[in-house]
Amino acid sequence: MPPQKSAKTLTAVPTPAATAPPDASTPATLASPDTIAAYRALYDTLGRAYWEASDINAKDTIQGARDAIYDILTDLNIAQLQANTALFLALIPRVRQTNVALGKIKDDIGSITKNINTASSVIASIAKIVSIVGKI
């Protein structure tokens, strides 16, 4: 079943290429969306060239260049994931706060049971006293 439309929709999810440079050590030019897109395109183009090349030396040369681009793109992804880690960290207190609030509601509901238990123990105590008094 396709998801039904909701009044509230998810906000746009930033893609690695569309987000700002997350790490101060990442040069701004490297992290710009256009540059990343160009590197990805170059990696894919070199990949096609690798499989089309028939000479093993040519393949090695192409793959060497491809490896370097792979390293750059991997470092950018690692940096983006680190930036997301900081955002996840900021969310932890809010989730904990909600869970504490829910825990309090759970305790309050538990105290309703305790109140009934208290009533029961009061009745039992009275019955015991009455039976003792009756024997005197």
């Binding site: 393949k59 680190q82 909600t98 019955a127």
Partner: protein, 302 residues
């Protein structure tokens, strides 16, 4: 004496009235939401582990390929796609989400707790003992029949249910409403992570594929015909795994989008008894989660 026969009937009437306030639809919905959330959380944790493992393998593959080159890789330079602190942070958030959903379900089902049942039964039995004690000790003739004691237990249970349901009714919708932006933020971050993991996994497989090809070609005749055949057969398997991983991550992204939408619907339904769209969303979420559930660990990397 007639009025005494009316007591159990009156109590039963109260029970029916109070039972009418039960929040069982909310309890059912939060239980279903908790179960579906649990599946998405497990799938997400597995996806992170699988992506880190795949990237580790791609780096090791490169280490092997460059070993005899003019610029060999230093094994110390190997690093995880997500460092241990990053994984721990994500685990904490996902566990927090799981705890939230489970506690929500626990609280909503608090109206039918076994402890409350026991306490109410005990109160009825003690009341009967009290009647017997007074009857035996004083000239006042109080006789509490088993039916009356049972009616008292039932009434106390209904009262407890009512009080608990009132607590849930007055507190839970606000908690769900306040948590909605946080669930939205968590889902958006998870979606951002998955977009990165999909991008990275595609290239990790491409690197493993090219290095496997390079290994076969450089090995030349040092591989026997049978060994060469087996190594070549790995190439299409790597490509098949690449496609399967991408499909799985795309499916997980869909599940996470549905989780956010389901929570929006849950927040809306917490104040309404009629929520047909929520039931459909929970069913969709659970189905999409279950399709992925056993997928990650079954993925061969080689």
């Amino acid at each position: 004496m007639r009025h005494r026969h009316l007591v159990p009937g009156a109590l039963c009437a109260c029970v029916f009235l109070l039972a009418g306030c039960s929040l069982s639809p909310l309890a059912n919905r939060t239980a279903a939401f908790s179960s579906a959330t649990n599946i998405v959380v497990n799938n997400s944790e597995n996806a992170y582990r699988a992506a880190v493992r795949l990237n580790d393998e791609a780096q090791v593959s490169m280490l092997v390929a460059r070993y005899d080159s003019a610029q060999p890789m230093d094994p110390h330079s190997l690093k995880h796609l997500i460092d241990p602190q990053g994984l721990e942070t994500r685990t904490q958030v996902l566990n927090g989400l799981r705890t939230y959903a489970r506690t929500l379900a626990d609280v909503s089902s608090g109206v039918s707790s076994a402890k409350l049942d026991d306490a109410a039964k005990s109160a009825g039995a003690d009341l009967r003992k009290l009647g017997d004690a007074i009857s035996a000790s004083t000239p006042v003739g109080i006789d509490i029949t088993p039916q009356e004691a049972n009616a008292t237990s039932t009434a106390l249970k209904a009262l407890g249910d009512f009080l608990a349901s009132q607590k849930v009714k007055s507190s839970v919708p606000k908690v769900v409403h306040d948590m909605d932006p946080n669930v939205d933020a968590i889902c958006n971050l998870l979606l951002s992570d998955i977009a990165i993991l999909r991008d990275q996994a595609g290239r990790d497989y491409e690197q493993i594929l090219a290095q496997q090809d390079s290994f076969i070609r450089h090995a030349g005749t040092s591989l026997s015909a049978t060994e060469r055949r087996a190594e070549i057969q790995k190439l299409p398997k790597i490509l098949a795994n690449k496609q399967a991983t991408d499909d799985m991550l795309a499916g997980l992204a869909d599940s996470i989008k549905q989780l956010a939408l389901t929570h929006h619907a849950l927040a809306a339904a917490a104040t309404s008894k009629d929520a047909p769209s929520l039931e459909a969303r929970i069913a969709d979420l659970r189905a999409s989660g279950e399709r992925l559930a056993d997928f990650y660990l079954s993925l061969p990397l080689k």
